[in-house]
Amino acid sequence: MKNKKMKIARIEQDMNQEDLAKAVGVTRQTIGLIEAGNYNPTLNLCVAICRALGKTLNDLFWEEI
C-alpha cells in the first residue's frame, strides 16, 4: 500500500527524496520504494524518517482500519 502520508510530510518539509535519503542515511531508491509501498522499512529506519520529517510513527506509519 502506498505511503501517501510520508510523501505529503516530505513535501511539507520542502524536501525531495534525495534530501530525505541523505538525512536518514539510505539511498533515494529506498525512500521511493517505501513511498510506493514496495518496501517495508525496519523500525529503526521508520524512527529515523519520522525524526527527519518532524512526525511521529503514528502520523506516518499507522493505518486506520
Binding site: 542515511g25 539510505v26 539511498t27 531508491q29 529506498t30 518496501y39 522499512p41 529506519l45
Partner: protein, 151 residues
C-alpha cells in the same frame, strides 16, 4: 578513519539475499559435480575430494552457525519420535534407491547394510542435534529472562 558510505538496510538485505542464493547455487553445483564424478565418470576419490570436503564443511558450518543462534533446523515443526523415525525410513528408502540406481549395485546385503546404517545415523544424529538445540534454546531463554541482563 570513519566509514561514510551509506549503510542502506534495504541494499544490505538485498545483497544478503543475493549472496544466500549464490551460496545455495554453489552447494548444489558441488553436489552435482560430486555425483557426476563418483557415479558417472567413476573417478577416484582423490579427484573430487576437494569438492567433497567443501560440501561437508558447508554442512558443518550451517549446523554450528544455526546451533549457536539457537535456531532449530532439525525439528522446526516439533514432530514426535514416530514422525522422525518415519522421516528417517522414507529418507533411507529414497537414498538406497538413488544409490542403487546411480551405482548399479543391486546386491541385497549391501543395500540392506546401507539402509540400516543410513536410518540409524540419520535418526540418532537428528535426535542428538534436537537435544543440543533444545538445550541451547533454554540457555538463550534463561539469559533473556534474566532481569539483570538488561541494563
Amino acid at each position: 578513519m570513519k566509514d561514510n558510505r551509506i549503510q542502506d538496510e534495504r541494499i544490505i538485505a538485498e545483497r544478503r539475499k543475493i549472496q544466500s542464493r549464490g551460496y545455495a547455487w554453489i552447494v548444489t553445483i558441488l553436489l552435482v559435480s560430486i555425483v557426476v564424478q563418483q557415479f558417472f565418470i567413476k573417478a577416484p576419490f582423490a579427484q573430487y575430494a576437494v569438492e567433497f570436503f567443501i560440501l561437508i564443511g558447508c554442512g558443518i558450518y550451517n549446523t554450528i552457525a544455526n546451533y549457536k543462534k539457537g535456531i532449530d533446523i532439525w525439528n522446526p515443526k516439533n514432530d514426535g519420535k514416530k514422525k522422525i523415525l518415519y522421516n528417517a525410513l522414507i529418507s533411507g528408502i529414497a537414498s538406497v534407491v538413488l544409490f542403487a540406481f546411480l551405482s548399479g549395485n543391486y546386491k541385497t546385503n549391501n543395500l540392506v547394510t546401507y539402509f540400516v546404517s543410513f536410518v540409524a545415523c540419520f535418526y540418532l544424529f537428528r535426535f542428538i542435534m534436537i537435544g543440543m538445540t533444545d538445550k541451547k534454546q533454554r540457555a538463550i531463554d534463561k539469559e533473556l529472562n534474566d532481569d539483570n541482563s538488561i541494563e
